[in-house]
Symmetry: C2
Subunit: 327 residues, 2 copies
């Protein structure tokens, strides 16, 4: 049994707690939280919860530690720190800072002789893998990534910061015509506005100036000004009833040309349609936890990305079983 | 520059000849044929062609040999034989014989210290990879592979063997309703008939009994009897004009459940839409040729499948470039 620990306990960790139960070769041995453990209600009653500062006392109970904090303030410090002691997996997704995060984590993991796989999930993660595979096969071509339909946490938060807003949910929606144009192999150039629309469901305070709120949303720099944005004002009851889920998904499409005169067109498309973004992401993290464990058992160490991991390492099946069942 | 040789010269090799030109770190140094080299017309005029039995005289000109023969009679002998001398890639696709082919090739490649990657292409190949990744992420779920719309060479050949048939083209077509049912997450059980239809374009000899030919097609065991099959009789001119291409493609879809009570559904879908089956397949072979070269340079040897190859090895970019551009 591979012993898994979870560092931090929010939506992602709750998803991982469930995912580990679906993997018969794994066992969740401990959850670490900054909060008072007695106040944390886990998905399954028998999950042990400890304070983060006690983690080194539980070293023998952990083969792989899954980092479940956020990319903004948690993971940049926590991942390299924990890689000094554990094989780790994280889902660091602040794209421009990944190279630095990789370096910091690599240094720590090489010193400890552990394996750290960073930026695991679906984007970065499975989408990145599909961009890599498709680009290596179709050398002359163009890549497109579309997100949605799904809830963007960052955009929902940005709306909540507007005066007079009680709560909000923002959906990112790919534009169907853009998807069709890409699938036709035309390799169009697409602006942000042509690729995605944004739909917002907003609960306003009683008596709030809805026209002002709507204007503040649709003109918000970096978040909404480059998109066609629709704003719906709804009641808190409606928000709770109709928008409680955290669905997401998206598309990675590459169109490319082959042949003597590049006369033939090919389309590679990968898509996800997810009822629960954190549960799917944590399912990816758990599969890569197995890979980290196996790679470390074989003597590997240092920081890795999904690009470095042989696919077979994600599976609990033998190579013979994989070849017979899936090749 | 990675020096590539091609063993056998048919549609697949012609595709590889084009694909190598699209990869600036590679060079096609020689093609080997059983025919008289002077009778072989290559895609590019300057491609050197030699007799297969002269191959060992060209050992220094080849870093990786791409096996371009067929799975029925060529590859079972040729791949292990050539793995005694070269890093090799093949596209062996007789599913039930892959384990034996793997063993034979592994023995040869371990003795020579070379890397052999077998069963590379899209199915087996990219489809296999997607079945593996999706199955490791969504543990509780169901897998579906659909092929088409595309030309099935085997089924076209089977029609050509019927008395009174001059030429024929058979398209395998996925049933749209089946695709939709799978995408809905319902995990239906589907019979061959429910998944695919077969459409045949047949050129009959003048005066041939078309009713008999049609009946022989639709009742043919293992090929057509389990499917809804449509037969169109057309002229040779129409066949040449409208059915000269070798398009193919397909879908790998997994639906799976996560959550405490498996209450959330997720769909992972990978699809290909290919103008030219052999050109796409050979583009995959060429990318894996780079991987074989790099893995062997690092001291690895033996037989591998796509499951064993870290994705980064397919690329000519450095890890730093991959992380910045694609992760």
């Amino acid at each position: 049994m591979i012993k898994i620990g979870l560092f931090g306990y929010g939506n992602l960790a709750r998803g991982a707690e469930c995912a580990i139960k679906q993997n018969p070769d794994m066992k969740l041995t401990c959850v670490f939280t900054r909060r008072d453990p007695s106040t944390v209600k886990t998905v399954f009653e028998d999950t042990p919860v400890y304070k983060t500062d006690e983690i080194l006392q539980h070293k023998d109970e952990i083969d792989v530690l899954i980092m479940c904090g956020g990319s903004a303030t948690d993971l940049p410090g926590q991942t390299p720190e924990m890689a000094k002691h554990f094989n780790i997996i994280d889902s660091f997704d602040t794209h421009k800072n990944i190279p630095q995060h990789f370096k910091n984590t690599d240094l720590a993991a090489k010193e400890s002789g552990k394996v750290a796989i960073i930026s695991v999930g679906w984007d970065p993660g499975m989408f990145s893998l599909n961009r890599l595979y498709a680009g290596c096969i179709l050398r002359d071509g163009a890549d497109y990534t579309f997100w949605g339909k799904g809830v963007s946490q960052g955009h929902s938060d940005a709306i909540r910061r507007i005066e007079g807003v009680v709560d909000a949910r923002q959906y990112t929606i790919p534009v169907e015509e853009a998807l069709d144009a890409v699938r036709s192999g035309k390799a169009p150039e697409l602006s942000p506005r042509q690729k995605h629309t944004r739909e917002c469901f907003v609960v306003a305070e009683e008596g709030a100036d809805k026209a002002r709120i709507e204007k503040e949303i649709v003109t918000m720099k970096n978040y909404f000004d480059e998109y066609d944005t629709t704003v719906h004002f709804i009641s808190l009851e409606e928000l709770m009833r109709d928008h409680a889920g955290i669905p997401h998904g998206g598309f990675v499409i590459r169109s490319g040309k082959t042949g003597k005169n590049l006369e033939n067109t090919h389309i590679i498309e990968y898509s996800l349609k997810l009822d629960s973004n954190p549960e799917f992401t944590s399912s990816v993290l758990v599969a890569y936890a197995r890979a980290a464990y196996r790679m470390n058992k074989e003597g590997m160490c240092g920081c890795k990305s999904v690009f470095d991991v042989p696919p077979a390492y994600l599976s609990d099946k033998t190579n013979e079983e994989l070849i017979s069942a899936l090749l």
